[in-house]
């Protein structure tokens, strides 16, 4: 698919040219064949709003959307994949494309609160995978969490400020 067609699909999905202004970067490498371009775009948008760049890097910088896409393609059964991808078609989430970042963040927050109140497991799982894609990434674990594969010792009562600093 050439870049124009790719963008057209994304634009059609969100209903107009207004979306172009807010379309997050979507340059998945080795995109899974069973995750459509549209789904990739929607997932990227949602995860970018969920885990934005702040004083620290955001989800897009660690390729969290790609991670979720690969999980859906390679880990999930067809049934699970369909259930989770269907979440992306919810009108509240599709509508995010027409919004600026502030408005989209408020809308996603409202959707998230309502989904948890309704015990929406599919959204919960999609959110969990998104978080795993970010907090489980090499960049996050090494640069923020300071993960050590081989700690070599155990301190049962460390001062948090010393550890985090």
């Amino acid at each position: 698919m050439d870049r124009r067609l790719f963008l057209r699909e994304a634009i059609l999905l969100v209903g107009g040219t207004a979306a172009l202004a807010t379309l997050p970067g979507c340059s998945w490498q080795d995109a899974p064949a069973n995750i459509s371009r549209g789904a990739q775009q929607r997932l990227t948008k949602i995860i970018d709003i969920m885990l934005p760049k702040t004083g620290t890097f955001g989800a897009l910088e660690v390729d969290a959307p790609e991670f979720v896409g690969k999980i859906l393609a390679n880990w999930a059964s067809a049934e699970t994949r369909t259930k989770l991808l269907t979440v992306l078609d919810r009108p509240e989430l599709v509508a995010l494309y027409g919004m600026g970042r502030t408005e989209a963040s408020a809308a996603l927050s409202k959707f998230d609160t309502a989904a948890f109140a309704a015990k929406d497991k599919n959204w919960g799982q999609l959110k969990q995978l998104s978080m795993l894609g970010y907090f489980g990434s090499e960049k996050y674990r090494t640069e923020i969490e300071k993960f050590e594969l081989v700690p070599g010792r155990y301190d049962p009562c460390a001062n948090i400020e010393e550890q985090i600093a």
Partner: protein
């Protein structure tokens, strides 16, 4: 290669490794038969892989789980990084009756489940060894604590058990390495429980991880624990005790060990003249070619269910109901610990503290029910295992929140959270049994095992109390309970199968004598979980180790005296 040996050991896991070590070190030529593949830690252990390098976030694909690991995936430790260490249920089937699930969790490779075990290592006491007799349940253990105490000492020193001396009569102290101790919040919990519940104890778990090393450990190439807590992927440092890290290397260096992987034991062969065990009939797992090995003594260490299967499948004209089964107890009295009764709570405060490193251990609350003046409406008791740790980002996945502030808040550790899980004693019941299918066979032509096992009234009463006591403790500490799971998981899930070849005084009612020797066939021994006359509530592997070393020593003495 010769097919004749002084001794044949069936199984290379926790107990088989010990028997191999003890017999080879006493100069016997020993054959160890392992039904699974050989293990090369450098290639087969995934403990040096960073978490982000593991496919699918370390989760096994759903379709693969459903197709190949429908039982094994029920165990929390099953993951992409170690899936090759668990059997494929699609290849290794067994039957259970409708409505009576039994989770048979297995690892078929050199080292067996000793590569993935939880490493919690506790002695039984005379509270346990005397319980059946006092309660009039099943049969009496033919040994008491004093019989096993020196062997506990012996195996603890070699294996390396990190623990603290507590002077508790129901949980005897041992030969410990320095403990992998409680963190500061667990210390506060321990003090609170002691004060609020009349001296009830919370202690560091006793774990088979090298918190420090002795010359005996380093001689085998074992190193101190690196506090990674990836033991369940196999430990490349040899700090976690297993057959592969310790007993089999010790056996190998004697020059007396022959280890043959991919050897599925079909049955034990007997001499028609003497009635004694003369050999083992084996099927090659890959080629299906049969081989018969001969030996002067034979040790069954194929796990409680596996060893019963072999004896039942060894039936012959002289032993129509199976070998060593004149008592009709082979396969009966299957037990597992009550498991997966969990309570979780958030712990207020201590937000200025965290831990460094990942301790492969937790805290332990030794049994306090039906001890001394405490009397319950059920028999026996239970202990708890758990930990108090700071929540990570995963906890936030279960509640609303998105966006910049939320994301940044998750960069710091969350609240402290306690998790307590009960391990309860299951009573022996002859109706809980392993039998052979009359109809179904595996792809090697061996009858499938049929497992018929369920919790009885005593277990159900105990399960209720396990949950109630946990909640009471957490509430008394002022913690906020966030999860209660009061129903135990199906039997088997504790991965502590026991009792199918129980020890006892009387050949009419038990399979093994006080030396783990079958009453019927003196040169046939069993020292895996099958030997357990009762289950106690402590994790049993340390007792298997002690029984194995003791029985191997006795078998050698009998050989020297010309009695076998």
């Amino acid at each position: 290669m010769s097919t004749d040996f002084d001794a044949i050991v069936i199984g290379s896991g926790m107990s088989g490794g010990w028997v191999a070590k003890e017999l080879t070190e006493r100069g016997l030529k020993v054959l160890v038969l392992e039904r699974g593949r050989d293990i090369d830690p450098a290639k087969d252990f995934q403990d040096l892989v960073n978490p982000w390098e593991l496919p699918n976030g370390n989760e096994v694909p759903e379709d693969e789980q459903k197709r190949d690991y429908v039982i094994q995936s029920q165990f929390g430790g099953f993951q992409e990084a170690n899936k090759e260490l668990w059997v494929k249920d699609s290849d290794h089937r067994y039957n259970t009756p409708a409505g009576k699930p039994f989770a048979w969790i297995r690892g078929y490779q050199v080292g067996g489940r000793s590569l993935m075990w939880g490493r919690q290592s506790y002695r039984l006491s005379d509270l346990d060894f005397e319980a059946n007799k006092k309660d009039g349940i099943a049969v009496d253990w033919p040994i008491r604590y004093t019989d096993l105490a020196p062997w506990y000492d012996y195996v603890e020193k070699f294996a390396g058990i990190a623990g603290s001396k507590e002077a508790l009569p129901q949980l005897p102290d041992g030969q410990f390495l320095k403990p992998m101790g409680l963190n500061c919040v667990e210390e506060e919990f321990a003090k609170g429980i002691f004060d609020k519940f009349g001296g009830r104890r919370v202690i560091p778990g006793r774990t088979a991880n090298l918190s420090e090393v002795t010359q005996e450990h380093t001689d085998l190439g074992r190193s101190p624990c690196q506090y990674r807590s990836y033991c369940i992927r196999g430990c490349s440092f040899g700090a976690s005790f297993s057959s592969v890290s310790a007993t089999l290397p010790a056996a190998k260096r004697t020059g007396n060990l022959t280890l043959v992987p991919n050897s599925i034991v079909h049955s034990i062969v007997t001499d028609p003249t003497t009635g004694r065990a003369s050999g083992v009939r084996v099927i090659d797992a890959r080629t299906k070619n049969p081989t018969t090995y001969t030996g002067r003594i034979i040790f069954l260490n194929a796990s409680s269910i596996g060893s019963a299967q072999i004896l039942l499948n060894s039936a012959n004209n002289a032993n129509p109901s199976g070998l060593a089964n004149s008592s009709d107890q082979v396969g009966r009295n299957l037990m597992d610990h009550l498991f997966n009764i969990n309570t979780q709570a958030t712990v207020p405060g201590h937000l200025d503290k965290m831990v460094f490193g990942r301790r492969p251990n937790g805290m332990y609350i030794p049994r306090f029910r039906n001890i001394g003046d405490d009397k319950q409406d059920f028999l026996r008791g239970y202990g708890y295992q758990g930990s108090i740790q700071r929540e990570a980002w995963e906890a936030a996945a279960n509640r609303p929140g998105i966006g910049a502030q939320w994301k940044d808040s998750l960069a710091r550790p969350g609240s402290w959270k306690i998790s307590l899980g009960g391990f309860g004693e299951m009573l022996p019941n002859p109706a809980n049994r392993v039998a052979l299918s009359a109809r179904d066979k595996d792809k090697w032509g061996i009858p499938l095992v049929e497992i018929n096992c369920e919790h009885g009234p005593n277990e159900k009463k105990m399960a209720t109390k396990i949950s109630e006591d946990a909640q009471e403790m957490l509430k008394a500490m002022g913690y906020n309970i966030i999860k209660v799971k009061a129903e135990p998981a199906p039997p088997g899930t504790g991965i502590h199968e026991m009792g199918t070849l129980r020890m006892g005084h009387d050949p009419k009612t038990s399979v093994l004598n006080k030396w783990s020797q079958t009453h019927d066939i003196p040169n046939l021994f069993c020292t895996d979980g099958g030997a357990m006359t009762s289950s106690a509530c402590q994790n049993p592997s340390l007792t298997y180790m002690a029984l194995s070393a003791r029985a191997a020593n006795h078998a050698h003495e009998l050989l020297q005296e010309g009695l076998l």
